[in-house]
């Protein structure tokens, strides 16, 4: 009981740090959770684009705005692009990807277009997929307008009528997946990020606890006390395990609050099982670090380097598919990579048969092999220390 009480006291003393790492995960999870509703029909992705219309009365301009509003998330700005402060508003929005494409319709655009002048719509693009889609929408509209004008349509009203009548041909789109892919994607992101919080919280607490119990004065006192050395160590081990399981359960429960029924499903259970195995592995890493580091001041630095390093390298913060090959090659030497790899496989699973589950189980097995390796290394290190 004395050991357990001391453990709780240390935990209480460091509650701010634990709350910080947990808070980061909760904040991140909450920011990323949004209600998703996947129906079985295809729905277009609407790109965020902006328009500045200086030809407010022009029929063609008005119709272009209407068309873009229908097919995208349109923001209409009332700005003067020649003014430096005004143009910064759109430039900032483009840089921070709040909009992906900007279309500027100049004054008298409709009239000049109908008169056959070479009049241009000025555009600014972020060059990504959403920008490309926005550009396609504008191009489709303008090509159609030009074609009908070539067919000797001289009145803007008639031109707009012809465009509207024809432009919305829709292809017959079907989607085959029965999964709520968006919700699973978000849950996957949450569980990937969880690897950071678990590693940071576990390494920090377990290292602090071990360094306190390993302080020379305290260690000497424990050694001469009537308490059995083995019993002391077992209680300490159980305390750390209990803490790890509580942390894991808390993160899982929060995942349930955020993602609800997505978590209470076979996918969710696999996510939970995977994160449980990773928690065990993280605890063994923490024990290993705790056994080699005795300097309390160094723990903060080590926690950050290990947890941030493995999270950045293995794809906990940035999707693994975006990481350069060289980084992924290094990541293969870290358990977090296999944990995240398993999560990424789970979220895409359509069926749960042996063929689809096998690669996930292999990843889980590798995580457990890492855990075993850390246990062995910890034993070797502490045996050496005892002899020394």
């Amino acid at each position: 009981m004395t050991v357990f009480k001391t453990f709780l006291r240390i935990l209480n003393k460091n509650k701010m740090i634990i709350m910080l790492y947990t808070g980061i995960l909760l904040g991140f999870g909450a920011l990323n959770s949004r209600t998703t509703s996947q129906d079985m029909n295809f729905s277009d992705t609407k790109p965020a684009l902006a328009i500045i219309n200086d030809d407010k009365d022009g029929e063609l301009a008005k119709d272009l705005v209407r068309y873009l509003d229908e097919h995208g998330e349109l923001t209409e700005y009332d700005l003067d692009l020649s003014d430096s402060d005004d143009s910064k508003v759109v430039d900032d929005a483009l840089f921070y990807r709040q909009i992906h494409y900007l279309v500027y319709i100049p004054k008298d655009f409709t009239a000049r277009f109908m008169a056959g002048d070479d009049v241009k719509l000025t555009t600014k693009s972020t060059g990504d997929f959403k920008a490309e889609l926005s550009k396609m929408l504008v191009e489709r509209y303008m090509k159609t307008a030009n074609t009908y004008k070539n067919l000797d349509v001289t009145d803007a009203g008639e031109l707009v009528e012809k465009i509207d009548k024809n432009i919305d041909i829709t292809a017959d789109a079907t989607i085959t997946s029965k999964l709520d892919t968006e919700a699973l994607e978000l849950a996957g992101v949450y569980f990937n990020f969880e690897s950071y919080s678990i590693l940071a919280c576990l390494i920090y607490v377990i290292c602090i606890v071990m360094s306190v119990f390993n302080t020379k004065k305290i260690k000497d006192r424990t050694n001469i006390s009537s308490m059995d050395f083995k019993k002391h160590n077992t209680i300490l081990l159980l305390c750390n395990c209990m803490y790890s399981v509580v942390a894991w359960a808390f993160y899982f429960a929060f995942g349930y609050v955020l993602f609800g029924k997505t978590i209470i499903s076979t996918h969710g259970m696999l996510f939970a099982f995977n994160s449980f195995l990773f928690t065990i592995c993280a605890a063994t890493i923490a024990f290993f670090i705790g056994s080699i580091v005795s300097n309390k001041d160094a723990i903060g630095g080590i926690v950050n380097v290990v947890s941030l390093g493995s999270s950045f390298l293995c794809g906990a913060f940035v999707p693994a598919t975006w990481l350069p090959d060289g980084v992924l090659a290094i990541a293969h030497a870290l358990p977090t990579y296999y944990y995240i790899n398993a999560n990424d496989r789970i979220k895409q699973m359509e069926t749960f048969d042996m063929t689809s589950l096998k690669p996930v189980f292999i990843d889980m097995g590798i995580v457990m092999a890492f855990a075993l390796a850390f246990v062995i290394m910890t034993n070797v290190v502490s045996a050496k220390k005892r002899r020394a």
């Binding site: 600014k124 889609l133 041909i169």
Partner: protein, 396 residues
């Protein structure tokens, strides 16, 4: 006395391994992680040809418009490339590619010519929407082309010409079908938003420098450290000891920042724009703001050194969040919805100054950021000095 204390403060700070780790080493390590994680982000998001399959059955082969346009849009050397197209013999093959994740979607042409073409995907998404849009556009052009063709034939027949020249009509249709889009592209070429991460890192390092001023100010405070008691009873003016200690911490801060700049520029290829003198000015003023921040935390909060450092880290991380370190959208929201927060956020001001130098040709925004930083530094320093001046202890 000033030089003597300056020299020993410098030595004492350099020997504090924890401090040196956090102010000099940690930013370099974090920068390396950032580079590893973010170096591909912008190129991953840049538009690339979408993997796509076409069921090449008779329905497709007989539709000349689709055959020609898809071939053109898939041409590796063409300017208009949108698709990386695989042609398959039947729908089952296409389905297999789809399930294996090799393609984002596939096209099946309808049996009846007037029906709309069918596209199949696994789920919703941007690539899928682009595929659908392109297919729709081809169908639209086909429909308009047919319409024009029919009109021309009718006109010819009305003129009494029943001898229809197919090639001539095709040419006339192509003449009318326009490729003109009336677009003038004025996109900026510097749009790499992952730079913001590195700018927040520079800003974080400036403010983390406050740890050094906390450590040196603690050495002068009689109620915090044993050294402080000794310094307080020494027959020197407090201003001299405090200023010389702070100068020592500022020098270390600048050394750390210089190392980080050199490392990020030469090893990580970070782009700070063309005006390197202004970048250095911003770094120097930013470090001063960090020093003032540390001074403020060190004097206003009555706590031990570790607690004060903890408070400084917490404040810095809080500011880092609003400056966009954990997602650039947060910076945009703060700048547009809560501009007052950016004005009192030293991390935000330094980040914004670097962003302004990178993205804009004008310096008005940069100047505003520098002025705000200087005001912030002066206010924090004034509060700190009022808090420690004329402090006397009868017993402690």
């Amino acid at each position: 006395m000033f030089v003597h204390n300056f020299k020993y403060s410098l030595k004492a700070l350099f020997r504090n391994k924890t401090l040196i780790f956090w102010t000099l080493m940690f930013p370099i390590i974090l920068g390396t992680f950032f580079k590893m994680a973010f170096s591909n982000v912008t190129s991953s998001e840049a538009f690339k040809a979408i993997n796509f399959a076409v069921v090449e059955d008779d329905n497709f082969k007989n539709d000349e418009v689709f055959v020609t346009v898809i071939k053109e849009l898939s041409d590796e050397d063409g300017d208009n490339r949108i698709f990386d197209t695989t042609y398959v013999e039947n729908e089952d093959e296409a389905k297999e590619l789809l399930v294996d994740g090799k393609i984002d979607g596939y096209l099946v042409m309808p049996d009846k010519k007037d029906d709309t073409p069918g596209v199949t995907f696994i789920n919703n998404g941007i690539n899928q929407t682009i595929i659908k849009n392109v297919v729709e556009e081809i169908a639209l052009n086909e429909k308009i082309g047919n319409e024009i063709g029919e009109t021309i034939v009718k006109d010819e027949m009305a003129k009494g010409n029943f001898n229809i020249d197919i090639d001539g009509i095709y040419e006339k249709v192509m003449e009318k079908m326009s490729d003109e889009t009336n677009l003038l592209d004025k996109s900026a070429n510097k749009l790499d938003y992952s730079m913001i991460e590195f700018y927040t890192l520079i800003a974080m390092t400036c403010i983390y420098g406050g740890m050094l001023s906390i450590a040196s100010i603690n050495n002068s405070l009689a109620n915090i450290s044993q050294k402080g008691k000794r310094v307080s009873v020494a027959p020197t003016r407090k201003l001299v000891t405090v200023l010389s200690s702070l100068l020592a911490s500022y020098v270390i801060q600048l050394v750390g920042l210089a190392l980080l700049f050199v490392y990020t520029i030469f090893a990580l290829n970070i782009d700070y724009g063309d005006n390197i003198a202004k970048v250095i000015l911003l770094g120097a003023v930013g470090s001063l703001a960090g020093l003032a921040m540390g001074l403020f935390v060190g004097t206003v909060f009555k706590a031990g050194e570790n607690a004060k450092t903890g408070i400084l880290i917490a404040i810095t991380m809080f500011f880092c969040n609003f400056a966009g370190m954990f997602g650039i959208t947060m910076k945009y929201i703060t700048d547009t919805k809560m501009p007052w927060l950016t004005k009192i956020n030293p991390v935000g001001l330094i980040t914004d100054g670097l962003y302004a130098l990178y993205y804009y040709n004008t310096t008005d925004r940069f100047s505003a950021d520098i002025i705000n930083l200087i005001i912030l530094t002066l206010v924090l320093t004034a509060v700190s000095f009022f808090s420690i001046r004329r402090r006397r202890y009868d017993s402690i």
